[in-house]
Symmetry: C2
Subunit: 270 residues, 2 copies
């Protein structure tokens, strides 16, 4: 089972930290500050819910970091199209049965949490990619936003996505015979977009229940308190993880039937 | 007593919140996201330590917010030079005694806390202004950085300022006969640069000492704890305020004897 996830956003927004926290991988923290956009891909074997998965993570280091970002997007667009092109060739080749699928099944887009809404660079980039790949918008480092500020920012972003006709990954509609807990989960996922998440691979001590001493859990410690990765009251991390893990298949299907078909028909009609 | 303070940094970094928290003013939160750089100046009468002060705050809305920021700085540089020009004219005019000093005495530069260090836009802008105005570098929204991350970021920034030969406002050396507490304050100020501050005009409840019920103080409430503006263990806000208030006179003197003289001699030698 091959799955490819791309992360895009300015450097320092916590992209590698989030990937490591989601999939318990160990991507190196980037060398900071080099502006030239570089696309780096790394593959890890992971196991989620008993399914063995070969996860490829494509990181875009240096996105939006230079003073003039006009030309910044093209390498990313080209990377996504190149994977479609490779798949198209393989599909029409001799070895159709063993195609290695390197198409990008999901793109996590990181929005700067210190803005109030999408910036021009966000809108321009999302307009270029939303009909090529499944986009999931993320507000990283959500521990810098109070609960009210998160709600306000999410509302603003949803409005801007509609105004600019940017479509993001949408869950398939629930079947009537789906069980209640699945329907509830889908509703919570839809309400959470864009996902305000925190991430951390550091272990912090917390007093566990019934005074059995302290356990070590993933979080970030401040002088005024400790924020916990796996606490649903602290961020949308847990919901985001559920979305990705339970919809791996659907993310692949949509990539194949919608985005890839889009590419193919454009290509053949030229 | 006229004092002019300029704030520069991307929108959303908390510039107006910090000014309001420092001087108990009520600058409006900006209308978000318009990229065209606009320079807005507003004047308030404040009183600090018994001294009546006419404080002018010059805000640069839209700095660094567009996709191509190459041309972004010029209006700010021009504003600073224009005030020198006005002062030069007034000085050689008839009414020398009643000159209204609108020169910029201090520039608070806001560094994006989600970066790890100075970005290209920071370095390029600071190189243009550091010999025209007293620059004080600020890391706003420091509640998103753990104590370790703050130390690391401060170290990186100090190194970059040295490498790029950018000079920032430096305290006048202590006199031998200054009292100990002033010498201690100066040392703490020098060690704190760039100042990692938080700001908030919201009042939050905290349990006051000896269980006398709760008081209301300035801070930000999160599900995992409350960060307090006036708690020195939480940020450098208190130290920054002390620096500005105790050195208003010196900031004016340096503006007059160093930066204005620079401008005058350049102008006259042309
Ligand atoms: N406040 C906060 N900081 C975070 C969070 N996640 C990561 N960071 C910090 O952000 C910095 C940059 O993270 P990194 O993953 O290297 O960013 P990248 O350049 O986008 O890959 C590191 O110092 C992290 O500790 C978070 O959820 N909250
Ligand atoms: N986490 C955090 N948020 C802050 C802080 N100061 C201001 N903010 C928030 O940042 C947002 C932007 O503030 P504003 O002062 O309007 O930014 P400006 O555009 O730079 O003037 C507001 O939602 C503030 O509540 C702070 O110290 N910490």
């Amino acid at each position: 089972f091959d799955f490819t996830l791309m992360v895009v956003g300015q450097s320092g927004l916590g992209k590698s930290t989030l990937i490591n926290t989601l999939f318990l991988t160990d991507l190196p923290a980037k060398k900071k500050g080099n502006q030239k956009l570089k696309i780096e891909s790394s593959t890890v074997e992971i196991e989620e819910r008993g399914v063995k998965l070969r996860l490829s993570v494509v990181d875009t280091v240096g996105f939006g970091d230079s003073i003039n970002n006009q030309e910044g997007f093209q390498p990313i667009i080209k990377y996504i199209d190149d994977q479609f092109e490779k798949y198209l060739r393989d599909e029409s080749g001799l070895n159709r049965r063993n195609i290695h699928d390197s198409r990008v099944h999901c793109l996590l887009y990181f929005i700067d949490p210190s803005g109030h809404c999408l910036k021009p660079i966000d809108i321009q980039f999302l307009k270029e990619v939303h009909n090529r790949v499944n986009v999931i918008p993320i507000i990283p480092k959500a521990d810098m936003l109070t609960i009210n500020e998160r709600q306000t920012m999410k509302k603003m972003i949803r409005q801007q996505l509609i105004e600019n006709k940017i479509s993001i990954y949408d869950l398939p509609p629930c079947e009537p015979d789906d069980d209640d807990s699945y329907k509830k989960l889908c509703k919570r996922i839809k309400d959470a977009v864009p996902f305000a998440v925190i991430a951390s691979m550091d272990k912090v001590p917390i007093a566990s229940a019934a005074g059995k001493g302290t356990g070590l859990v993933r979080g970030r410690t401040y002088p005024w308190g400790t924020v916990l990765v796996d606490d649903e009251k602290h961020s949308d991390f847990v919901i985001l993880k559920k979305l990705i893990i339970t919809h791996l298949q659907d993310l692949q299907d949509v990539t194949h039937t919608v985005h890839y078909e889009n590419y193919r028909s454009k290509k053949l009609s030229n």
